[in-house]
């Protein structure tokens, strides 16, 4: 087998699985697809000389690292320029519109989670996240220590992550296949009514 066809064979064999794994965290189809491609290309470049004992394990480890970098880069980029809304609502074709809607669905989920927090934790978290005050500044305003603010933020991240994981477990297939704007709207609206 040549190197190229080995790569192709592995891609055919593992790409769907890897992409599913990635899609659990990035939620929208085309980003998951892009990231999967990158994982395979990077892995291929890094390993072209050697035969892998366990290509599946290697690919999953590479996918984890790639996802972590993906999210950390996004955070870093955003702390320079805060126009996330702009990014989210970037004008364009229907596909871009779907992405926005999927992102919006995640937002509904995290808000649901934040509402379960005690009021003080909500306040601390929103001051930090929305109003972009540092832990120290939030602490000063609320009369608590920066360490306590950090704990509130950790707690908020925990409930949000838990909520997203739970919602993904139930709706993975739905979220991945939404292309119909009207159907998605109905879903959003019924969620809004549930509240």
């Amino acid at each position: 087998m040549t190197i190229k066809s080995l790569f192709e064979a592995q891609y055919r064999k593992y790409a769907p699985e890897v992409q599913n794994f990635i899609a659990r965290y990035v939620g929208n189809y085309s980003t998951a697809e892009d990231l999967t491609h990158e994982v395979f290309i990077n892995s291929f470049k890094a390993t072209r000389e050697k035969e892998l004992e366990n290509p599946r394990a290697y690919l999953f480890a590479a996918a984890r690292n790639h996802l972590i970098n993906h999210f950390r880069n996004r955070t870093n980029r955003r702390s320079d320029v805060t126009v996330e809304f702009d990014e989210m609502v970037h004008a364009g074709d229907m596909r871009a519109e779907d992405k926005r809607l999927e992102a919006r669905d995640d937002l509904q989920q995290v808000l649901k989670a934040i509402r379960t927090l005690p009021p003080r934790a909500q306040q601390a978290f929103l001051l930090n996240r929305v109003h972009q005050l540092s832990y120290g500044e939030v602490g000063k305003r609320m009369g608590i220590s920066p360490r306590t603010v950090e704990n509130h933020v950790a707690k908020a991240l925990l409930v949000c992550a838990r909520q997203l994981a739970a919602s993904t477990e139930n709706t993975t297939t739905i979220a991945d296949n939404i292309t119909d704007l009207a159907a998605h709207r109905d879903r959003l609206r019924s969620q809004a009514m549930d509240r």
């Binding site: 004008a91 926005r100 937002l107 707690k155 949000c160």
Partner: protein
Amino acid sequence: MSKSDLEKFDDLTAEAATWRARERAGDMISRERAELEARLASDTAFADAYLGVLRADDALDAFQGAAGADLLASLDPELARDIGHAGLIPSPPRPWWQPSRRGMGWMSTVAASFLLLAVASLSLFDRGPMSTMYETSVGESRTIMLKDGSVITLNTDTRLSVALASQERRILLERGEAYFDVAKDKARPFVVVVGDEIVRAVGTEFNIRRRSDITNVMVTEGVVEVKKNLPDATQGDTSRPLPVPVSLKVGDDLTVDHEGVRTNTLSAEELAQRTSWRRGMLHFKAKRLDAVVQEIQYYLDKEIIIASDDVADLMVGGSINTQNVASFLKGLELNFPVTVIERDSVIIISYRERRDAGATASGLAIIL
């Protein structure tokens, strides 16, 4: 997942959330950094939990800054109001939505790209509906999704405000052009106020444009009703151009200017072409260059100057990418005997007299 799996997942997620909160403080020391990386490298279950936290963290970043505060207010007014009532938000003279940590840099970025003014900041304390303003600068196009599921696309240099109340969804289009994809809600009519007109819809799609005191409404789906925006007392005034509501259906096109009201019906192709700005394209069919320039001027913040009448008379056609208007103009040089010169604030299109276009252009550039 079994119960113990679930507990383990929760424990790991809690640990991951603690790490992420530490990381986001921005002052993590290298020993902590190394510890986190080692943890990620050695335990895949922890890495997965950490990824779950990163995903949540990433979603939450949508609420950052002025735009984020507004987004939060639109998705969850109560939550936004709670924090306002707590009296914890930064107080004037610094507006509450302005971050102190990042300095002023982002302000200009927001202003330049998508100025989303949280005019709701004060009305948050009222019980009335919140009004939110959306604005695009020259050359931009943005899509916003309202809480009711309606989607509005703003074309270049457009300004509108949105107020969603329990009885009515009210939009004020101050200037520019927008495409409305209205979510059905019989109990809450969707009303757009534009100039002296009121456009009313339930669930439908239409395009409204207001430029240079000319208002145009174009319906692409369903039916909308257009009437004069008059106080009840003057409703019977027949000298006004729109004494009774006009009903528009798919393909109908209504224009109001100082001469009065005109309606006509567009073919499906014309309709698609006239709304193609949403996909960043403008289409022209054998149109005078001065008319084309008048249209594309809305998308370009440099003034386009046509240097002579014989240039204005040129007939052009084709498709123009709204993000690339300047290069379209530059491309005119290839097909027409014109010279296009781009400066910091103007683009000048002049007739090319001599065959040696380069010499003409550089000659002019020196004079300029």
